[in-house]
């Protein structure tokens, strides 16, 4: 693995087009990368231990991913919970599909299921 990949592995979604409806805003974030982590804070400065743990797991898998800081956007913070029918953060999406919060991500990582899932679903 080159340093280049490591350096570009994590990016943050900074802005959302607020002229869009809430569902379209959420979809625009989900469409911006194959792997999205909705979290408290960002990868450099997580504001919650569970979010920090999810960042660490995704980093260690080596996949490129984007983060979105739900603390900066109350519309998304509330709206995504209803969109996904999942009540807490962080939330991890692969190809626009919710695969879990931190507990599930951790369990999938430990069992090897996560690495397998990423390998078979990411190109």
């Amino acid at each position: 693995m080159s340093f280049n990949i490591l350096n570009n592995q994590v990016q943050e979604v900074q802005t959302v087009d607020k002229s869009l409806g809430l569902k379209e805003q959420i979809e625009s974030i989900l469409n911006s990368s194959s792997v999205i982590l909705f979290m408290k804070g960002n990868a450099d400065m997580p504001q919650c231990g569970f979010s920090a743990n999810s960042v660490a797991i995704l980093k260690s898998t080596g996949v490129a991913f984007k983060t979105f800081n739900i603390l900066n956007d109350m519309d998304i913070r509330q709206g995504l919970k209803e969109f996904s029918n999942w009540p807490t953060y962080p939330q991890i999406y692969v190809n626009q599909k919710l695969i879990g919060g931190n507990d599930i991500l951790t369990e999938m990582y430990k069992s090897g299921e996560l690495q397998e899932y990423l390998a078979s679903n990411l190109k």
């Binding site: 029918n85 919710l98 695969i99 879990g100 507990d103 599930i104 369990e107 999938m108 299921e113 899932y117």
Partner: protein, 84 residues
């Protein structure tokens, strides 16, 4: 299992069909439960889909008697290897 969490077991079984359900009171307050479910309904499903099945079954009780849950879900085969 103690009788007091039989309602949890019954709810899950009625949603999932044939399954084994184990409930632990994590905090002694009877509202933070660690729930283990073994069922072949989980075969071929992602972990989140397995958890969502349980959360759906408990949806109403999560507004009433249950405050938080920690879930473990296994197929029969997987559970047997853990026991091994």
């Amino acid at each position: 299992m103690s009788q007091e969490f039989k309602f949890v077991e019954d709810l899950i079984k009625s949603h999932l069909g044939e399954s084994e359900v184990f409930v632990e009171d994590m905090t002694g307050t009877k509202d933070h439960l660690e729930i283990t479910v073994v069922s072949d309904v989980f075969k071929g499903k992602l972990l989140i889909e397995q958890h969502q099945l349980i959360m759906d079954a408990l949806k109403e009780e999560l507004k009433l008697r249950i405050h938080a849950v920690k879930l473990h879900t296994y197929t029969k085969e997987k559970f047997a290897t853990l026991r091994g």
